[in-house]
Amino acid sequence: MYEIKHAADLAESIRLLVVSAPMVAAKAKAGHFVVVRNGETGERIPLTIADYDREQGTITLVIQSVGKSSSEICELKAGDAFTDVLGPLGHATHIDRVGTVVCVAGGVGVAPVYPIARAFKEAGNKLISVIGARSKDLIFFQTEMEAVSDAVHYTTDDGSYGLHGFVTDAVRNIVDGGEKVSEVVAIGPLPMMRAVADLTRGYGIPTVVSLNALMVDGTGMCGGCRVTVGGETKFSCVDGPDFDGHQVDFAELLRRQNRFGEEEKMAYDRHRKEGHKCRIR
């Protein structure tokens, strides 16, 4: 069992879990992810490693509740445990000294962006971060991100904090303001990653996105996570999850993301109806 050492709410329906998984922590690098299973009837859920502590043997996960499995995971407390944690999976993000790097995070994407931003900073890059959320109270990891960034730009959809607009507006301002950006890393909802990639394509700035395709095993065995990149089929779990944002077929991926939409909705509705009953422990 993989015990949860610490749990906290970061924002509405966003939860942080520090999980004991010494062998994963020992190997984890920025960009890696794990597959977890919560309970014997649980699904295998991919989650990015948002941080790790090799000495304590723990990894940090940040989860947004979007459906049945993620909301059940968000209900876990310190002392509970995951049935399974497999990892570290995928290729670590390629970190190099390239000059100026802009890390763009949308919503819960701040969690996976954080270790990448830190690694780029440690490699000697100038690091500018852009954090976008629907509104102010959904922003988290602010202290962490500011500690590893030379500058942080905030955007909110409702204008309650930072720039009133989307992360793309902030990126455009940075580039148009004369910053010579060598690389952009964008992680967040698919439409956001697509918008950032479309923008930076125009500027000719290399852009890495981290794809969250639906997965089962996470080891290259099922092919369920396939995406088209540069006209070729790739398995995001083993070939990625990082890919060249300018080459990804986002339209296809968005469609594939919805393959089980009806079933997911059914499970979630059922969970919400029955959820309270089973939470009386």
């Binding site: 009837t41 699904e43 049945k68 497999l86 080891t219 290259g220 088209t228 059922r270």
Partner: protein, 461 residues
């Protein structure tokens, strides 16, 4: 000469509505009757056909004498997974192919008898293990992958007294026996029992251990393991490379079967993993994998399931029994047909599959007549789900992370067929990762040979 004793099974109409096992197995009387057909040949031709060297005439003689526990002991000396082999071995091309009775009539039903003995032993098991491991020698050995190859190597090494740790990437043991072969052909409770037996021999099974990511072969040696067996299987699904393969509604057989078997999507929403099955399902391929996918789709409620295969019936590599079962269950066999494109609607869901008809031309290198396209025979098959079951290759993850491990052109690990030794001293490999997708029993045979040679290597012979 009498015919072989029939095995009772669920009727097709009944079984396509459930995931319960299809055949019921022999009862004691039927088993004794079938065993009585065996001539107890001195030369033991049948035994030559068994890769794990089961002493076939001996266990059958025990059944004849109604000593079923004794029969189990005889089998378990050589085979740690008899209830599984009795169910999924392609006996017709293994042991039963060499039975002398087969020359004039039907061979002895060795597989069914093995299944009977294993089931009997499981149901009547006393607390004592049938076979006792040798006294421990405290040498640590590692086995990677808990498919039939890994399980067999681990069991044999444990029986020799080694301290065996078995590392498995998934959260449950068995490899294809778990995620590929469906419940109605191999109940998971039986797999659990046989794996439980292997653990009772002292094998320490560790899950969520992706060797090549969580830990490396090099680290295993650094941690004090003296030898390693790699049995990681052929887990990488191949696709057809035709347009439309990434449409919603197209699965690899691995994804489809993993969702249903490992993750139990057939019990969704009690289990969280979903699977979506359409009205009309096309399964592309003609092996055991295709047959399992098709019969699973039927049980999940598809109205029509078609197998689309580019060669003829005789050439379908699936086990005879399963082809026969599939036909009884009403699978529509579109033989000498080949898909050329999968068609999608404006939302990205499958709405048809364009196929061509084939005819048999000249024999190819394999001696089978090569299927060639009939010009102008294109047509669209009305389907909303496609399962691609055209084979699997070696997963490159472990290989890429292990320096010095030689592979062949297709990416399979190169191992000496006599010893299963790889290019790295102390590292052995066997099963699908070496041969490419083959059979349960071939994988087990490789695990057995490897265990024997690892022992010799460790003793410095």
């Amino acid at each position: 000469m009498s015919d072989k004793v029939k095995m009772r099974e669920q009727s097709p109409a009944e079984r396509i509505r459930n995931f319960n096992e299809v055949p019921y197995g022999y009862d004691e009387r039927e088993a004794v009757q079938e065993a009585s057909r065996c001539l107890g040949c001195k030369k033991r031709p049948c035994a030559q056909g068994c890769p794990v060297e089961v002493d076939i005439p001996d266990f059958i003689a025990r059944i004849k004498a109604e000593d079923f526990t004794g029969a189990a002991e005889v089998i378990k000396r050589k085979n740690s997974l008899p209830a599984i082999c009795g169910r999924v071995c392609p006996q017709e091309s293994q042991c039963e192919a060499l039975c002398v009775l087969g020359r004039k009539g039907e061979p002895v039903a060795i597989g069914r008898l093995e299944r009977f003995v294993a089931d009997y032993e499981r149901e009547h098991r006393s607390s004592d293990a049938a076979v006792v491991p040798a006294a421990g020698n405290k040498t640590k050995v590692a086995v990677v992958g808990s498919g039939p190859a890994g399980l067999t190597a681990a069991a044999d090494l444990a029986l020799m007294g080694y301290e065996v740790v078995l590392f498995e990437a998934l959260h449950a043991p068995g490899g294809v026996l778990r995620y590929g072969i469906p419940e109605f052909r191999l109940p998971k409770a039986i797999l659990d029992e046989e794996v439980g037996y292997i653990r009772s021999l002292g094998v320490d099974l560790q899950y969520n251990m992706l060797v090549g990511a969580t830990l490396s072969i090099e680290e295993l040696f650094a941690d004090g393991y003296k030898a390693v067996f790699i049995g990681t299987g052929a887990g990488l699904p191949y696709f057809l490379g035709i347009p439309g393969e990434n449409l919603n509604g197209v699965y690899s057989a691995n994804e489809f079967l993993t969702r249903v078997n490992l993750m139990r999507a057939y019990r969704f929403p009690e289990y969280d993993t979903p699977v979506r099955i359409g009205r009309h399902v096309a399964v592309v391929g003609g092996g055991n994998v295709a047959m399992d996918a098709a019969r699973t789709a039927l049980r999940l409620g598809a109205e029509r399931v078609s197998i689309v295969y580019r060669r003829a019936w005789e050439e379908m590599p699936a086990r005879e029994e399963e082809k026969h079962h599939g036909r009884e269950e009403g699978i529509d066999f579109k033989l000498l047909n080949n898909p050329v494109a999968i068609l999608g609607d404006d939302k990205g869901w499958v709405e048809g599959m364009e196929c061509v008809r084939m005819e048999l031309g000249e024999p190819d290198e394999s001696g089978r007549r090569r299927p060639v396209v009939i010009k102008g025979s294109e047509y669209v098959l009305d389907v909303d789900t496609v399962v691609v079951a055209v084979g699997q290759g070696p997963n490159p993850l472990l290989i890429q992370s292990t320096g010095g491990l030689e592979t062949n052109r297709r990416g399979n690990i190169t191992a000496d067929p006599e010893t299963m030794a790889t290019s790295i001293p102390g590292v052995y490999a066997g099963g699908d990762i070496v041969t490419g997708a083959a059979t349960v029993i071939a994988a087990m045979g490789a695990g057995k040979i490897a265990a024997r040679n690892m022992d010799a290597y460790l003793k410095g012979v």
